[in-house]
Symmetry: C2
Subunit: 234 residues, 2 copies
């Protein structure tokens, strides 16, 4: 093969490879959502905030129909900046690409208290710009609410902002435990970063995925319950 | 270039092309969801079924928080087979790939009454196995409920089943008007085909897309409100 031809062929190959690397083949869908039921785990065990599911019509009357009464911060859900900032974006005002895209699950199951900047820097999987970063911890969502859940500490939130991530998620019903002035929420909200809480990461491993967790389009909403999934691809 | 080399190169090219054709590059996200608000359009104008959005906490008390009370067949939503079949799958039992994947929007805006088998066969965009088929009609979702909305007629439902589609969607709050025994719903439900209703297709053109409309994981649910999007790709 002549040198000119070789250059030509390899240029075409390269451009095809570049295209392919931006593309996805779906191999599997992992459901990382909590089931919505009347006896699901509720933040700080406030049972008065449990969802209500009422059957409003039965098949013999025409069709099975029901109604869902739900606090928007229940189960797997996403917080909009307006949750903690009066002038923050509401859930129906957020650009949709914040809720879907390249994601990394980082294994912090050995962390006992909180995830700090140091933990994030030292993680074996590196955070890149526009990543949706999901923090897998020792938290468990099936059992009674754990008041000592592992949380994202202030310096961790600041570090994620500096990396220009799209969104963050965690496998507890809150992302900060009892830090003064919801500092983690505020740092993220001020940078328009949606916060996913109540994600069930127990069955997914550290790695790269494609994430989907679109909120309902609730007018003036401060949050929304979501069905969140991870799609593995190559 | 020798013949052997040419064959080799073209084989590699071909296999790369095959890979690419299964892949996606996201170009744009189209939101095809109705906004959830207390004064949104409700099926058959049954205002007692309007959603309620209650503010339960304000920022000065710690954070903006709210509650959503919603009939699950409100706005953009998806029906599970259990809606019309006692032994049909419930919304939390459906495989998730039914709610995401290759989709086609077919323009039926010239149809006056109902979409039949004949209309579907004659459409300029062809329906393929595993497609999510979205029916764009002259229905309008912003205005008062139109009791004479364009619907999917029995023979149309049967035809879609025969084509082995994944799911179907329409831009009215119902998919059948007043056919006896919910025949369209039944035909689709018996074949485990989810039915998306209340999709706002007014701003998307006929064509091929990638669709996402995952339901909330509501225990024993007969339906779920959804945030539905179309992603255009190449």
């Amino acid at each position: 093969m002549s040198k000119t031809l070789r250059t030509k062929v390899s240029r075409v190959f390269l451009s095809m490879l570049e295209n392919c690397s931006n593309l996805l083949i779906i191999l599997a869908i992992f459901d990382i959502s909590m089931e919505i039921s009347e006896d699901m785990v509720i933040y700080k065990n406030r049972k008065e905030k449990s969802p209500k599911i009422s059957v409003t019509r039965r098949l013999e009357e025409g069709a099975n129909e029901s109604k869902l009464d739900i606090f928007v911060h229940t189960g797997s859900h996403v917080d909009a900046p307006y949750h903690v900032l009066e002038n923050g974006k509401k859930i129906d005002e957020m650009p949709l690409d914040r809720f879907m895209g390249k994601a990394i699950v980082i294994d912090f199951t050995k962390v006992k208290e909180s995830i700090t900047k140091k933990d994030l820097i030292n993680s074996s999987i590196k955070i890149q710009k526009y990543d949706i970063v999901l923090l897998k911890t020792k938290n468990q969502l099936e059992k009674d609410f754990d008041f000592n859940f592992v949380y994202l500490e202030k310096t961790g939130a600041e570090y994620l902002v500096s990396k220009k991530i799209k969104a963050v998620g965690i496998d507890s019903l809150g992302i900060e435990r009892n830090q003064p002035n919801h500092i983690t929420h505020n740092i993220l909200a001020e940078n328009s970063i949606p916060i996913f809480e109540g994600l069930d990461l127990s069955k997914v491993k550290q790695g790269k995925y494609f994430f989907h967790g679109l909120p309902l389009k609730i007018m003036n909403g401060d949050a929304s319950p979501v069905r969140a999934v991870l799609v593995s691809h190559r």
